[in-house]
Structure formats: structure tokens, C-alpha cells
Symmetry: C2
Subunit: 348 residues, 2 copies
């Protein structure tokens, strides 16, 4: 991997996506990796210009990269769901990103909205399933616009899909000091899907005797994220519950400006994709107000995924140090200044 | 309504359900209403004894009451979903409790896990749909237990079902000082159901020009509940999102021990049902450790629903006063002591 350049596809996307990705790339270069970035102008602008979201030819081209760095997609000028489904979710599904990895970690010096909470209390990894559940997109509407309309959404869950992500989560749990895995679901209402998830966790657990397993309904988990975040070490959950709980996780860990994620294809049959958890935030776009830290931490995950562990650690350390300085009373910095400051640390 | 006794069906249920319901009944009696309670032993014990969850004959009997007070159902000795679906959800569906009303309100003196947050910041009502969505119970499994298993869950949403609950929520919003209604959904992924919900809100909004409407994805809403709870006044959402967000609401408003709910049939074609948001908590059952306040606040909602507004206000005030005393440094009280203290205030 070190012998040749890393071929990176960059999809800045919409809104603040372009701003934060620029900073992520600065850091990537500073860390001394030989990276060869190629930009793709997918997102709202292209959609308006050509009507395209993600042409098949581009999808196939993207398949050839080592990894993808994505900013954010979505714009109020595009009806809800179009860019999300036909671009972002299409990439996750097409490249079989069945692990959506989202650390929830309170860095020392970060202000959490929770009272009496310190970094030891919030240090977990959420392993969100990324290719099934309600995100499958199946469903429909009948008699639309009439008083007799019915609209359905279907959650599709397979043993194949659940087992592989559960196994991945057990591997993560095994590698961590606490070795605890919590399944989050709603088995008492979603009885068919819940039964599959719980049975799978029980079965895979037999291969991981050193890992303690636990179960929590999604409603109770949402409560515990706020009242007892220290309950959680590794969380495994489905696509929708994972979506909700990782935004909540971002909130307790100091905000969406710090939350990183990786859409991982563990078998490497297609490139994995790294992106901040936050959206395109059109309301603050173009003003240099966005915090690029989430993207920079996503870059650290990218490096780790590519086997560049030392480089990844250096980026994460630079972020941690930068955050401590904030505590020391930094005045507000622009997106570019935060990126520069972290870049300097990484390079220095 | 005042001329005759209120006929109340009481379903204490499992675990701490029995303990908290006993306190709720104490308060109901003290408030001076002529109430005629009839107990129903539905729950885990009856299920083990007779295999029954909710016999049709009992369901029909319950239909004749003015209201139902429920403690909690669920026990680890019963497989997940049985009591929830065949008892609790069956009642909600059979009695057309399409409004699941859940105030999220920080009482002065209550400790919230959120830093720098005061009672003015947390004062909302969540109007959760109660008879549709993923709670419809449709779905299934194929090739169960094999590597080729597929498990599905279906979310069913109708114009009829969505419109009536949205209209109810607008009425609530109109009656509150801020007059703000926020739809919480996931329109960018659940495009069919989301489209129905969003269109319905837009249409009904035309009848309520004085109400400001807003929209928030469920993931963002979970974040805002923690970081900016003051954003919300009335929230309207579907059954599952409402389940999640009201537990989160309970957490930020001082815990599940204080969270009340009403399963409302606004047309009164069947009795409404009042219950604390918390579950049966088998781990602390029988020890006098449960806080009966959530049940007592549910009793206040029950009184209000029956038109006994002054009585309802008295109960709520008694709870508010009791909570202030807690702040003054009460030592830990048992379930019964809390009930007694509030009863004394209501009576006095
Ligand atoms: C934009 C949206 C489709 C996406 C999701 O729901 O997965 C986002 O919220 C996320 O969490 O990455
Ligand atoms: C017990 C369970 C079925 C129920 C629900 O999911 O509605 C509970 O969590 C609630 O919120 O009342």
C-alpha cells in the first residue's frame, strides 16, 4: 500500500461539504501520504445542470479507487430523498458498505451538553448496519393525494446481512478493553426483524466467549445515551436505529461538528467511503463557519482503513491537541483556520 | 360527568406496575372524584396461568368503561412481544388510541442531565400517532433459522390515520402560547410515508394560519432534544419515532419516573387509557423503589380527559410542590411514601 499512491475519489457534494472536504485534504497531504485525489462534482449543482445524480458510468469509475472521501449531500432546492437515495445511499448499497462505523467519543476539553459527564463516560463505537432495513427503499403509495391514500415502507433484513455486521461488531468489541457488545433494537414490537437480530447475536456470541453481550430497546437506549452513556462500549444496530442513535451520540459527544464516520466494505470488494455525520447545512454554507473536524477525523478513519495506522493516529492526536487549545480559550476560527491549525500539528 | 361515578378499569400489569398504580388510585380518591375502580389481572401472571393475554370477552368489557389506568406490562419470563403486542398494543389499536399524548416538561426543581437547562427550555408536548406505522405488526420471516432467512416489517400509513392525528396536534399547538408545530420524520429516506406526512401537515396548516410549522428529521431531532430542546413546542410524529423521542424526552426532563402519557381516543368511541411511559422494571419490582409520580401525572391527564380540569390541575400542582420539596433535600422515599405525600397535598 505504501509503495504506490493512494487513489482517492473526492465527492465534496453540497453546502458546507466543499468547505470541510478542502480541509480534510489539506490534512491528508500534510500527513505525508502519497495521495492522488480526483474530484467528482456530484450533488445538487450537477443534478440541476444535467438531471443526473450518479450516472452508472461514474459509479463504475468510482469502484476503481482505494477509498472515497465525501463531504455532504442535500440541498433544499432538490426534493427530499433524491440526492440522499440516488447518490449517497446508492453508493453505500452499490459498494456494499454494510458496516457504518461511527465512534462516539468525548475528547478531553470538549463541552458536552450533559452535566457531570467526563471523557471516560462517553467512549463507544456504534456499528450501524448500512445496506438493509428500512433503507432498502421498498414500499409505495396508493391513491396518492386522496383521502384513501396508503403509504408503506418496508424493512428488509436478512440472515446474511445481519450476521456479517454482527460478526464485525463482535470483532470490534473483542479488540477493546471492556469487550462489551450491546444490541439495540425494538424486539418487542418489530418481532420478526428483532427475532432475527437477537438470534444472530446469541449465535455469534458463542464464538466470542470473552465478549459480554447486552440488549437494549432503542427507546431505552436513547434514554441511556443521555443518562448513562457509560453503559455502552460497542453498539450494534440496524440502519435506521443507527442513524438516530449516532446523531444523538454526536450531540452528547460535543456536537455534530466532531462526529466522523466510515462506510466500510470489510472485504474490500469495493472502496470504503468516509464522511462526517453532519449534513450539508445550507444555512451556513459558504461562510467559513463549518467545523471541519468531523471530516478530518473521518480522514483519520480512512487512513486507518488503508493500513496507515501511524498516520491515522497522528491525525487523531492533532485533533485532540487542537481541541484542548480550544478549551484554553481560542477565539472563533473559520473552517480554513481550524484546518490549517490541525494541518500544522500533523505536519510539525 | 360529575353526576355519576367514573367507571375506571385498572390494569396494574407486571413488575412495578402494581406498585405505582396503587399510588395513582390513592391520589384519584383524594381528589374527591367519585370513582369506581375495577381491577383486571392482565399481564404475565395471567398469561402463565391461563395462556391468555387479553381474551375477547375482556376486551369487550373494557370497552364499557369511562377510562383505563394501566401500570406497565412485560416480564422477562414471557418472550418479547407477546404481552406488548397482544395486550398493550391490542388495547391501543382496538380502542383506536390514535393520539398518544406525551408531555415533555421539566418541572422546577427537577434535575435534568442537561447542563445549563432550565424549565423554560423544556416544555413541549409530543403527539405520537398510536395506531399505524411499524406498530401495525405486519411483516414476516421466511426460511427462519437458516442462512437464507429474510425477516420483514412493514410500516403502514394512511391519509385517514395521519390526517386525524396531525389535526389534533394543530389543535394542541393553537391552544399553546408559542403555537409552533414540528413534524418529526425521516422524509429523505422513508420517502413514501414521509411524503404523506409532510403533505398532510402542509394541507392541514392552511386551516391553522396562526400556527408556525417546522420540520425536523428524526436524527436531527434527537440531537436537538439534547442540544436545543427549546426548539420544540408541539411535536407530531409517527408511532416508532414517537416511541424513541418520548423516552429521550423523559430523559432530558428528569427521567422516566416522571413521564406520563395518555392513549387518547378523541372521539370517545372507546375509553382512553393512561399509563406512565416507563416499563415494568422487573429488576426493582416489589421493593418500593419505583417512583409513582409518572402514574400520578397520568392520573392528572385522565382527569383532564374526563373534563375534571380543576381536579387535574390540583394533582399536577401537588406533584409540582412535591418535586420542589425533593429539591429541598428529602431523603429517599418509598413508592408508597411518595404517593402518600402527594395524596396529602391533593386532599389538603
Ligand atoms: C442523509 C441521510 C440519508 C443519512 C442517513 O440517514 O443515513 C444521514 O442522516 C446519515 O446519517 O448519514
Ligand atoms: C412496551 C412497548 C410496546 C411500548 C411502545 O413501544 O409503545 C412502550 O415502549 C411505550 O412507549 O409505551
Amino acid at each position: 500500500m505504501e509503495s504506490r499512491n493512494i487513489r482517492l475519489a473526492v465527492i465534496p457534494g453540497d453546502g458546507i461539504g466543499t468547505e470541510v472536504v478542502a480541509e480534510g485534504l489539506k490534512v491528508l497531504e500534510a500527513v505525508g501520504t502519497k495521495i492522488e485525489p480526483t474530484h467528482y462534482d456530484l450533488g445538487a449543482a450537477r443534478y440541476h445542470r444535467t438531471g443526473e445524480t450518479l450516472p452508472d458510468s461514474v459509479l463504475e469509475e468510482l469502484r476503481g479507487y482505494d477509498a472515497i472521501l465525501l463531504g455532504a449531500v442535500g440541498d433544499p432546492s432538490v426534493p427530499p430523498g433524491i440526492l440522499e437515495r440516488d447518490l449517497l445511499l446508492r453508493l453505500r448499497f452499490a459498494f456494499d458498505h454494510y458496516v457504518n462505523l461511527r465512534p462516539v467519543k468525548l475528547f478531553p476539553g470538549v463541552e458536552t451538553p450533559l452535566a457531570d459527564t467526563s471523557p471516560e463516560d462517553i467512549d463507544m463505537i456504534v456499528v450501524r448496519e448500512g445496506t438493509e432495513g428500512l433503507y432498502a427503499g421498498t414500499g409505495g403509495a396508493m391513491r396518492r393525494g386522496t383521502p384513501h391514500e396508503i403509504a408503506t415502507q418496508e424493512s428488509l433484513n436478512t440472515a446474511y446481512g445481519v450476521e456479517r455486521v454482527v460478526r464485525y461488531a463482535f470483532e470490534k468489541a473483542k479488540a477493546r478493553p471492556r469487550k462489551k457488545l450491546t444490541l439495540v433494537h425494538k424486539t418487542n414490537v418489530l418481532t420478526f426483524a428483532g427475532d432475527l437480530w437477537q438470534r444472530t447475536v446469541d449465535q455469534v456470541a458463542a464464538d466470542y466467549p470473552e465478549v459480554t453481550t447486552d440488549y437494549c430497546h432503542i427507546d431505552a437506549a436513547s434514554m441511556y445515551f443521555v443518562s448513562q452513556p457509560e453503559r455502552f462500549d460497542v453498539v450494534v444496530t440496524d440502519n435506521l436505529f443507527g442513524d438516530i442513535i449516532t446523531d444523538l451520540g454526536a450531540a452528547i459527544a460535543g456536537g455534530i461538528g466532531l462526529a466522523a464516520s466510515g462506510n466500510i466494505n470489510p472485504e474490500r470488494s469495493a472502496p470504503s467511503m468516509f464522511e462526517p455525520v453532519h449534513g450539508s447545512a445550507p444555512d451556513i454554507a459558504g461562510q467559513g463557519k463549518a467545523d471541519p473536524t468531523a471530516t478530518i477525523l473521518s480522514v483519520a478513519m480512512l487512513l486507518d482503513h488503508l493500513g496507515l495506522h501511524a498516520e491515522s493516529a497522528r491525525v487523531e492526536q492533532a485533533v485532540a491537541d487542537d481541541i484542548v487549545e480550544r478549551l484554553a480559550g481560542f477565539s472563533a476560527r473559520t473552517t480554513g483556520q481550524v484546518g490549517d491549525d490541525i494541518t500544522t500539528r500533523v505536519a510539525g
